[in-house]
């Protein structure tokens, strides 16, 4: 586990797969996440793993990391069949996964984090701090990473924390390093440096799995590409046999079923929301668009493109640096959700549990939250009119709940989503922003949510829908805006939009 082993490990034969996964299957309640997936990694090679959101990439690497157990299939490491029972187990067998969520203790020094799994110790059993610092330094020198091992980890930018994780893999003699969307928060310059490090890893005989959406990166760094789609293995080819188009084709490849009832006939009305030159400190760069009453404007983007950031900025949750947001002719002050709500814009958040629901409270309180003042007389809520308003929405939206007093945590995801939609409609909205409206919702409930969104637009609302699901984007939207790295890269009408065009704009 020490730094001097950093030359290529001669014990690793280059012709035996570092890892061979065969027929891996994994089900979750109601979903088949993986169905007979194969993955073979060769030492010293970079293997890209691609697929749309929900294709099964995350599940596969979590199995590799020992986070999930597999339901079927076999895993062999260096030709020997094995089981990966726990994260610790996977690590001991030489597999290190660098997740997007950095797994470091931010209060600890960089050096200490490197040796977290196994502290070098002195003869008396106490921790050998000097060895830790010296070895961390030696390790960093080898991979050309000039950070102070004594720095507090939380003080480093994400890119450097990622390097610390990779260094940690080396300290534990990892034979397989998996990187999950490693460039999603890196600048182009940092990406170049990451690639330098990846090439050093492969020179040491380490097999690298590179999970990414970004075609250019995949063409630059990988030797082989495996594409997954809907939990199935689609293709594994040397990168040289792929073109941009063939890769995109492998990733999409499916027909879109008509899940999407479309009742609207009328054309869009006047401009309900206008955004001009919106930039934020976090992500967005010069975004401008308009949304009209009675239309569904879909926003597509891959992970990290800035959809959620845009959603939060236009409803006033997050501060904006420059730009102008106008709702129905009135300018919205940034970072002012109160005004936003009174002007008639509401957000259905991506994370229902964290930002939308009060889980322990009943359906009634959850639904009437935003409209509470309209039921109040002299500060007292008139429960009778509150209840009848809530009941009417429950009936209209066909919310399945035993009673209005049922704690909302007991409802299904689809019904929770309906309650949240009703919360905003009760206010009398002009614009509603929905962020990933069907995340974690089963297929049956999905079509009901789609019907609701369709109806809202039919009733004259401007609906802005952020989604990473291609079928739902194409099925529901009247117009489609595509984002990449915080910018708006293209806008298509319903007629112009094709999967290829959208994905090309998203990958730009």
């Amino acid at each position: 586990m020490h730094a001097e082993t950093l030359t290529r490990n001669e014990a690793i034969p280059l012709d035996v797969p570092a890892l061979a996964m065969r027929g891996i299957g994994k089900r979750f309640p109601g979903v088949v996440a993986l169905d007979g997936v194969d993955l073979t990694l060769m030492p010293g090679k970079v293997h890209a793993l691609m697929g749309e959101n929900g294709a099964g990439k995350s599940t596969l690497i979590k199995i590799l990391a020992g986070v999930y157990g597999k339901d079927s299939g076999t895993i062999a490491i260096g030709g020997v069949e094995t089981e990966l029972k726990t994260p610790r187990d996977a690590l001991k067998k030489g597999i290190k996964v660098v997740f997007q969520e950095i797994a470091l203790i931010s209060e600890f020094t960089v050096a200490e984090n490197i040796f977290l799994e196994e502290y070098p110790r002195r003869a008396d059993g106490s921790i050998a701090w000097k060895t830790i610092r010296a070895e961390a330094k030696a390790l960093f020198d080898r991979i050309g990473f000039a950070v102070d091992p004594a720095a507090r980890t939380g003080d480093l930018p994400v890119s450097q924390q990622q390097m610390v994780e990779i260094a940690r893999a080396l300290a534990h003699e990892a034979k397989i390093v998996v990187m999950d969307e490693p460039t999603s928060s890196l600048t182009p310059k940092e990406v170049e440096l990451l690639f330098v490090v990846i090439r050093r890893l492969t020179a040491l005989g380490i097999a690298v799995v590179y999970v990414s959406h970004k075609l250019d990166e995949v063409f630059e760094i990988s030797d082989t590409v495996t594409v997954l789609r809907d939990g199935r293995h689609i293709s594994t080819k040397p990168i040289g046999e792929h073109t941009h188009d063939s890769l995109i084709h492998d990733m999409i490849g499916r027909r879109i079923e008509n899940l999407f009832p479309r009742s609207r006939t009328g054309s869009a009305g006047k401009v309900a929301l206008s955004v001009e030159g919106l930039s934020t400190d976090t992500k967005l760069k010069d975004v401008s668009f308009e949304a009209r009453a009675g239309e569904v404007l879909g926003f597509f983007g891959l992970m990290g493109a800035g959809r959620t950031e845009l959603a939060k900025a236009i409803v006033g949750y997050d501060p904006i640096r420059t730009g102008r947001i106008t709702i129905d002719g009135t300018a919205l002050k940034p970072h002012d959700t109160r005004t936003a709500v009174s002007l008639g814009i509401g957000l259905l958040t991506e994370d229902r549990k964290l930002e939308g629901l009060m889980l322990e409270l009943p359906v009634q309180q959850n639904m009437s939250l935003a409209a509470l003042s309209s039921f109040a007389k002299a500060g007292f809520v008139d429960e009778g009119s509150e209840r009848s308003a809530v009941q009417s929405f429950v009936d209209r939206f066909r919310v399945k709940t035993p009673s209005l007093f049922q704690p909302i945590k007991n409802l299904s995801g689809g019904n929770q989503q309906k309650v949240l939609l009703a919360r905003w409609l009760m206010r009398g909205l002009k614009v509603i922003v929905v962020d990933e409206p069907t995340r974690g919702i089963d297929v049956g409930a999905k079509s009901e949510i789609f019907a609701l969104i369709d109806r809202l637009a039919g009733e004259g609302l401007a609906v802005i829908m952020m989604t990473s699901e291609m079928p739902e984007l194409l099925g529901l939207s009247d117009r489609i805006a595509v984002m990449a790295e915080g910018r708006l890269t293209a806008t298509f009408s319903r007629e112009e939009a094709t999967q290829e065009r959208i994905l090309n704009a998203a990958i730009a």
Binding site: P87, L104, S106, L116, I127, W129, S185
Partner: protein, 330 residues
């Protein structure tokens, strides 16, 4: 978000002197302690005498011993407020067994056995069953106090055998100067500070409190680490309880009322975060010393106890508020 364009930017990582002072809250605490001592030394003639200073040390040592344990539980991301009743409860087996056997060692063993049991119960409920540790230990705080009242019938149990060794434990002084409890507190502080810094167990406690998920992925048994912390805390509170019983010369049913809050206040003042993963035992010990000297000094200025409480309250809020503000600075 990355601010630094280069992976080799070590600028953001090199700690300047000001940064060290800012981060190392122990230094701020030492300055605060010296300031308290200086203030009262100037304000009162009797404060800065060897007798008074060693007296304060002796009194502070009970809170310091329990405080080390409570700080360890805090660092692991949990809370332990049961120590206030535990110091009273352990005196019962201690005195009863000594009365029956005339043996200090057996008495101490009986007290430690009770402390161990309480630690196991707290740790099992909070770490393994996942019941909120504030509630769990608040519960055991009530149960133990109620048990003490029931067992003693609201009276003190006197020490009938009056062993000299038992008396010396809490009241004796090394070379007639340094109180034994202060020596014991200091020794325990050093041992546990060493464990927290130089043994893997200590680092596990910090990791578990700092980010349990990361600790789990690194292969640590998060529950067992927390469980062990509760046991350490209860055993250390037992030591405080034994010393207190020696000072009081009996098992007193109302001993240690409010002691838990005194300890928690000092530990938090010492920079140990309630949310876990942050703080040091030296910081906690300094927090105890600051509050002890403060209350002693205010007493010497003839300030009523009521006002001492009010002032202490303000100081704790101000200190922790300042700490929070500091933490939020970029």
């Amino acid at each position: 978000m990355p601010q630094s364009p280069s992976l080799s930017a070590s600028g953001s990582a090199s700690p300047g002197l000001a940064r060290i002072l800012f981060r190392r809250s122990e230094i701020g605490l030492v300055v605060a302690l010296l300031a308290v001592i200086l203030f009262f030394a100037l304000a009162s003639d009797t404060f800065l005498t060897v007798r008074n200073l060693t007296n304060v040390l002796g009194q502070a040592s009970l809170a310091m011993i329990a405080g080390v344990g409570v700080a360890i539980v805090f660092i692991s991301g949990e809370v332990d407020v049961s120590v206030g009743s535990l110091v009273a409860a352990v005196a019962i087996p201690l005195i009863t067994v000594m009365n029956a056997t005339e043996s200090l060692a057996l008495g101490i063993a009986a007290a430690l056995a009770l402390g161990l049991c309480v630690g196991i119960v707290n740790g099992f409920l909070a770490a393994y069953l996942g019941i909120n540790s504030l509630i769990t230990t608040l519960g055991t705080l009530f149960i133990l106090r109620g048990g003490v009242y029931l067992y003693t019938g609201q009276k003190a149990i006197p020490d009938d055998v009056m062993l000299e060794s038992f008396f010396q434990l809490g009241n004796g002084r090394l070379f007639e100067v340094v109180p034994y409890p202060a020596l014991i507190a200091f020794a325990l502080l050093l041992v546990f500070a060493y464990v927290m810094r130089h043994r893997t167990f200590g680092r596990k406690v910090y990791a578990v409190g700092g980010n349990p998920e990361v600790a789990r992925l690194a292969g640590y048994d998060v529950k067992r680490v927390k469980f062990t912390c509760f046991i350490i805390s209860s055993l250390l509170a037992t030591v405080s309880g034994i010393l207190l019983a020696s000072r009081l010369g009996s098992a007193v049913h109302v001993a240690g009322l409010g002691f838990e809050f005194q300890v928690v206040a000092a530990v938090v003042l010492g920079g140990v975060s309630l949310s876990g993963g942050v703080g040091s035992l030296f910081g906690a010990a300094l927090g105890v010393l600051i509050l002890s000297f403060l209350s002693n000094g205010l007493g010497m200025l003839d300030l009523a106890t009521e006002w001492q409480l009010v002032i202490t309250g303000f100081i704790i809020i101000a200190a922790v508020g300042f700490d929070e503000w500091k933490r939020r600075q970029p």
